[in-house]
């Protein structure tokens, strides 16, 4: 921007004058304030970080507890056989084992218990029926 000569001289005069000087102590005071603010921020971050660490630890503990609970429930032997008709259940289990030799004793017993409880939740061959009935789709050839 081109200024008229009079205004240009005034601008030069303004530029030439000694600018106001801050107190020599200002630099130190200001850097202390900066340090304080940086420290306050990092402590705020630590508090925030502490909360999230606590939340994460609580969530992890809850998940671990749920996992162990399920595991404990699945692995617990409730000894139902001792209270029921144990001889019949054992016999059924043996028949299951006879039909499915690859099945473990524990699984055979569990299936026997379920069968005696009248449950049909798990599809298993019925060991009490004759073996031929286990193949109802057998085709009769009449030619």
């Amino acid at each position: 921007m081109a200024l008229p000569p009079g205004l240009h001289a005034l601008q030069d005069e303004l530029l030439a004058r000694n600018p106001a000087q801050p107190s020599p102590l200002l630099r130190g005071r200001l850097l202390s304030a900066v340090r304080r603010e940086l420290g306050r921020e990092s402590s705020r971050r630590m508090v925030r970080g502490g909360f999230w660490s606590f939340a994460a630890a609580t969530a992890a503990a809850a998940l671990l507890w749920a996992n162990f609970s399920m595991s404990a429930v699945n692995s617990t032997d409730w000894s139902f056989a001792a209270h029921g008709d144990s001889a019949k259940i054992r016999e059924t289990a043996e028949r299951i084992r006879g039909l499915l030799p690859e099945m473990s004793d524990g699984d055979a017993l569990r299936h026997a218990l379920l069968l005696h409880a009248g449950s049909r939740l798990i599809m298993t061959p019925d060991p009490r029926r004759p073996a031929v009935d286990n193949h109802p789709m057998e085709i009769e050839e009449d030619w």
Partner: protein, 178 residues
């Protein structure tokens, strides 16, 4: 919009990382101009120092946004203006209306002749309306371009330039009167 120079980008990165040395460097580079501008806006040495301090603490608080700054100087002076408003609005009534004009009173006699003229200039600048005083201060004390002044004051560069010219004319008239 052009990228800032490499040194400025490094400085902005260090400021954003919260390195105290970067804030010291920033003060060494811009502290004097910022103080002079703050003094012109607030009219009080104490409030000018508080304003510069307030600016630096607010920079620490908002430092995460600094790497995106295109013009550090413009950003600093715009923040300084906001800091000055905060400081002057919270401070009580001042005892001395304009410390800037009183600065020359304690100078020795040898400097008195030139100082008289300087004092006259200071008084005239202090008597300018706020808008004109701001533009004079940003241009003379801050060394900002009209584009930078426009960004700081949120006006167009043409308005900044014409406001500066009116301010100089008013200043000349005040000096003639005084």
């Amino acid at each position: 919009m052009t990228e800032p120079p490499v040194e400025e980008r490094e400085l902005l990165r260090d400021l954003a990382a919260g390195r105290e040395a970067a804030y010291a460097r920033l003060y060494d580079q811009y502290g004097r101009a910022l103080y002079a501008t703050a003094l012109r806006i607030t009219g009080s040495r104490e409030e000018a120092e508080d304003t510069v301090q307030e600016l630096f603490t607010s920079l620490v608080r908002s430092r995460r946004h600094l790497p995106g700054t295109r013009n550090l100087k413009g950003y600093l002076f715009a923040s300084l203006r906001r800091a000055a408003i905060r400081v002057t609005s919270t401070a009580g009534p001042r005892a001395a209306a304009h410390d800037a004009t009183a600065e020359h009173a304690s100078e020795p006699d040898s400097q008195r002749a030139t100082s008289d003229r300087a004092g006259q200039l200071e008084r005239a600048v202090a008597a300018l309306p706020t808008e004109q005083r701001e533009v004079i201060s940003l241009k003379i004390d801050g060394g900002l371009t009209f584009a930078e002044i426009a960004a700081v004051l949120e006006i167009s560069p043409n308005t900044a330039a014409s406001r500066y010219r009116y301010a100089l004319e008013k200043l000349r008239a005040l000096i003639k009167e005084g």
